[in-house]
């Protein structure tokens, strides 16, 4: 019995636990998407092809409140939230070193959870095992539970009487929560909330979110100038 075997086994079981816990939450995505006016197929394409929880919730949330005329804002918000995945991909590319078609598979599966489990492992081998195990279980689990939720949402009717609108708000809160451990993220979160409250009544749906994104970029650049220390890795859960 050598150490690397134990590390790999631990990475795999950690990955499975994370994947199963997060997958369940695909059910609420599926139900909310259908209720927001997406068909079951459109909902499944979001989970299969986009496969990035925060971006998926942003698309359906913005379309739910702003309709198809907020489509551009929905696409831009999904993209801005997806920048994070691009940065994870840089790190995972160095760890996984995928070749050829496997690059596309690895890219599609590079999300918060697979990156977090991979990053938490003590060795490269365990990191790879953690990434692929989390990724595989999460992809299957997330899509199955999205389908279950979408079919459920289809027969539910009035969302509000089931509290699904509140569930969506709680989902966004749960997504941002792990990031709020230090001062700078807290300042941005509170600032974003205040700016949103002010702008929501006066601008079309989806636009306040984009203005907040631009302000956050400006704040990040400013902070980088005045306090250029590299913040430790954050928010992956």
């Amino acid at each position: 019995m050598n150490q690397p075997d134990g590390e790999i086994r631990r990475a795999r079981s950690q990955g499975i636990q994370v994947a199963l816990a997060v997958s369940l939450y695909g059910t609420s995505f599926g139900a909310l998407a259908v209720v927001a006016g997406f068909s079951v197929w459109q909902t499944m394409v979001l989970s299969l092809v986009m496969f990035s929880g925060a971006s998926q919730f942003a698309v359906i949330g913005i379309v739910a409140s702003g309709g198809v005329s907020a489509g551009l804002a929905a696409v831009l918000s999904a993209g801005l939230l997806g920048i994070r995945n691009g940065l994870y991909a840089l790190r995972m590319s160095a760890l996984l070193e995928p070749r050829g078609l496997m690059r596309f598979v690895a890219a599609q599966l590079t999300v918060d959870e697979s990156t977090a489990v991979a990053s938490a492992q003590p060795s490269r081998e365990a990191g790879r095992a953690g990434f692929w195990t989390t990724a595989a279980f999460l992809f299957v689990g997330w899509n199955l539970s999205t389908l279950a939720g979408a079919l459920l949402g289809d027969v539910m009717g009035d969302v509000r009487s089931f509290g699904l609108d509140a569930a969506a708000a709680a989902a966004f809160l749960g997504l941002v929560w792990p990031w709020l451990k230090r001062g700078e993220p807290l300042v941005v979160a509170i600032g974003a909330a205040v700016v949103s409250v002010v702008l929501l009544p006066v601008l079309p749906a989806g636009i306040p979110v984009l203005i907040v994104a631009v302000l956050a970029i400006g704040f990040g650049i400013y902070r980088h100038r005045v306090a250029p220390t590299k913040p430790e890795s954050q928010g992956e859960s």
Binding site: Q42, A58, Y88, G163, W179, A189
Partner: protein
Amino acid sequence: MDPIWWIVLAASAVVFALKITGYVVPQRLVQGPLLTRVAGLVTIGLLSSLVVAQTLSGEEGLVIDARVPAVALAGVLLWWRVPFIVVIILAAAVAAGLRLMGWMA
């Protein structure tokens, strides 16, 4: 084609393009503390703004209804490290319960 399909496909393409970029560009071109920091803060800003929009937006401007206590409860439960899915279910249950009783409908 249904306009929602365009939104679904365009947004999916953008997100995938960002993921694959990390695997094909040379690391030294894009790695740096500034980008890491800005990407983190943008994510936090967007999600916080979405919390507010989803909690308070109504037909005309801001509305305070059953969503507010539900989200407040979600915050407390997250603070207590209650699992994600439980938080979401309880938030929905609180809003649904308040509406059933005719409060803050």
